[in-house]
């Protein structure tokens, strides 16, 4: 006689996996993206708003990268701008070098103006590879990822996370910022890198949109895969995840690298689109701002970072541009501070998370949520019936 350990000989219950892209998201996303993508045609390719949209999309990808590690894995990094900044600086340096090759500076040399001011006569040898665009893009993506890997190996392998990790990453960002300001012969210092021919307008906007879509789908694929489940379990209780036999450190390192890669990509596109990169884009303030965009939109949701970024940055733009609200923009910093506190105290789940909870509580959620709930109920009922001597439904075990 054989003993069937797998459970009664019946085929194991099939777990219904979530679709990679839900239909409603596909339709809504296509609508929003086509609206954004065609915007240069009806408000003018050079208009300020189009510039803002591309910029916000880059910021949103940056916020999404924070969401991956903070919302889904529970690692709070206050130095994510390090990866964004390095990506941005690589691309900006490359574009600046190429630009000055063709357009000589005021004093007639073919090196960037900030190098000229600081007494360099030719491009330093270690920057020569940046002259080729593919190499620059590859470096912009590879260096941050490598840095994140090294950092992850050092910290996560030794069970350093939580507050310690946040504080160390914060120091990382501060030091990079100071480094950029100090070595102005190579980085443009306090002024940043400006005056290069940036890629403005519809074609590059579509590149940004395409990368955004790839990042979103990639993030969804990651968070809805088995790896994503493990990541969430690490966020909720890392000790138990470790006891289950998962190598918590490796999962953390992996997601940290993915996130750094994403942030670097966002930074690279940001530099190419905006045409100015400064030390602020690699500093602690920007890192924490990214975290707060994520928190406002909703951590552990994929659309939350986008909504948070567009809401906060959009509000800043509206306040500073409209005539009868501009007095408010003087208090913008104050408002930001209050926002930090308010989000943490009153809406810790963010806007998307709160609405989702509310819908779920009302019981009239989206169709897929209702189906999920019914599935779970049916599953629970089955489990209640199954074991011998289990409690029967409908009767309270007193």
């Amino acid at each position: 006689m054989t003993i069937n350990l797998a459970g009664g000989g019946s085929t194991p219950r099939k777990v219904r996996r979530a679709r990679l892209i839900p239909i409603w998201a596909l339709i809504l996303g296509a609508f929003v993206l086509s609206l954004i993508g065609t915007s240069p045609h009806y408000i003018g390719s050079d208009s300020y708003v189009v510039g803002l949209i591309g910029k916000f999309l880059c910021f949103a990808i940056f916020a999404l990268s924070i969401d991956l590690i903070w919302g889904f894995t529970g690692i709070l990094s206050l130095g994510q701008a390090v990866y964004f900044g390095i990506g941005a600086y690589m691309v900006a340096l490359s574009m600046k070098l190429n630009y000055t090759l063709e357009n000589a500076t005021r004093y007639g040399s073919n090196i960037p103006d900030f190098m000229e001011w600081n007494g360099l006569t030719e491009v330093p040898a270690f920057m020569a590879p940046l002259l080729s665009t593919p190499v620059a893009v590859a470096l912009a993506l590879a260096i941050p990822t490598l840095l994140a890997f090294i950092f992850g190996v050092i910290t996560f392998k030794r069970h350093i996370y939580g507050v310690y990790c946040a504080v160390i990453t914060l120091a990382e960002a501060l030091i990079l910022e100071r480094f950029i300001v100090e070595y102005q012969a190579y980085t443009g210092g306090f002024n940043g890198i400006t005056d290069y021919s940036n890629l403005r307008g519809a074609p590059f906007l579509w590149v940004i949109i395409a990368v955004t879509v790839v990042c979103l789908i990639g993030a969804r694929a990651l968070t809805h895969s088995r790896i994503g489940t493990v990541l969430k379990s690490i966020r909720d209780n890392d000790v138990r995840a470790e006891f289950m036999g998962y190598n918590v450190a490796n999962y953390r390192i992996f997601v940290f690298c993915v996130s750094a890669f994403m942030a670097a990509g966002a930074g690279a596109m940001y530099a190419a689109w905006v045409g100015i990169v400064s030390f602020l884009d690699a500093g602690p303030m920007f890192s924490v701002e990214g975290v707060i965009w994520t928190a406002v939109g909703g951590r552990a949701t994929l659309i939350g970072p986008f909504i948070g970024t567009f809401l906060v940055r959009g509000l800043e733009f509206v306040l500073s541009s409209s005539a009868w609200l501009s007095w408010l923009s003087e208090y913008w910093q104050f408002f930001m501070g209050a926002l930090f506190i308010a989000v943490v105290l009153w809406i810790p789940d963010g806007i998307v998370g709160t609405i989702g909870n509310w819908l779920r509580k009302r019981g009239t959620g989206t169709l897929s949520q209702i189906r999920d709930d019914q599935d779970r109920l049916a599953h629970d009922r089955q489990r209640d019936w199954d074991p011998a001597g289990g409690t029967k439904p409908g009767k309270d075990p007193v």
Partner: protein, 291 residues
């Protein structure tokens, strides 16, 4: 050459003294309540401006130290009761909320005092320097004062934590919070008082820093980041972690800044700290949690 190196070592001791004063409050709060106050640097800034006000009203630094302690401790009380009280169980989000507190403090102080910094004078007593060698790099009295004050603060903190009934309760709470609560200790009150005390120390740090660098709006941040590094390196397992971390970081940064420059110094120290926590994941005097 050797004379200069010796003087740099002494200077590093003075820097370490400031670090101890700045980090002590932070470390005590983190050790007991488990939260890190991101607004600590801004608390230091408020302390410095308090010292500037006292200076303008005709007082000197010895008066401004207790006044700054009281003012910033009250500020800490407001922040603790208003914000942190509700989120002790979410340490990561405490970072964000207190970061917001820091921004609000900066904006408010900019609103009140303007963007220009305030100069604060040294008391006459601390003018001058000890002439160890005949040639100029002398050891100024204020560096001596920093070291002495750091030792005094550590001694007072040691007395409070290890020789008073209040300190006994504090140590009970940090060892086992729920058990302490069962024994009738008002843990919320302990958290509040410790937060006030730690904030007050930040105020003292501000009052001491103000004369060497003018009181400016953005002075606090770099001090607070250095204080976090002291916590990470030294650990909060016991009181020895603060002076150890401060000493190592202060000396290393001063000597490396002397050899190369400030930024390289900070970068190398940061790398050294990251390597050091491979060996001491919870700091040199880390506190091993008993589960």
């Amino acid at each position: 050459m050797w004379q200069q190196l010796f003087m740099q070592c002494l200077n590093g001791l003075g820097v370490a003294g400031i670090l101890v004063i700045a980090a002590a409050g932070l470390a005590i709060i983190f050790g007991v309540a488990g939260v890190i106050n991101m607004a600590h640097g801004q608390f230091i800034m408020v302390g410095a401006y308090t010292a500037a006000l006292v200076d303008e009203l005709g007082g000197n630094m010895f008066m401004s130290i207790p006044i700054a302690f009281v003012v910033v401790a009250l500020l800490g009380l407001i922040v603790e009761r208003g914000v942190i009280q509700w989120i002790y169980d979410r340490p990561l989000e405490t970072l964000l909320a207190t970061w917001g507190v820091g921004i609000i403090l900066e904006v408010t102080m900019k609103f009140i005092f303007g963007t220009l910094g305030r100069k604060v004078d040294w008391p006459d007593l601390l003018d001058g320097s000890i002439r160890i060698f005949a040639r100029p790099p002398h050891f100024p009295y204020y560096r001596v004062f920093h070291v002495v004050l750091a030792i005094v603060i550590l001694a007072v903190t040691f007395y409070i934590l290890y020789r008073t009934r209040f300190g006994l309760k504090v140590r009970t709470v940090r060892r086992n919070r729920s058990m302490a609560s069962c024994l009738g200790i008002d843990t919320a009150k302990i958290d509040m008082l410790i937060f006030m005390y730690g904030s007050g120390l930040a105020g003292i740090a501000g009052a001491v820093i103000a004369p060497i660098k003018a009181a400016t709006i953005d002075m606090g941040f770099s001090y607070s980041v250095n204080s976090y590094m002291v916590i990470v390196l030294g650990g909060v397992g016991n009181l020895l972690g603060i002076p150890t971390g401060s000493f190592l970081i202060g000396e290393a940064e001063t000597l490396l800044a002397f050899r190369y420059n400030t930024v390289i110094g900070q970068l190398l120290v940061f790398i050294a700290i990251v390597i050091a926590i491979r060996v001491f994941p919870r700091g040199i005097f880390g506190y091993q949690e008993r589960r």
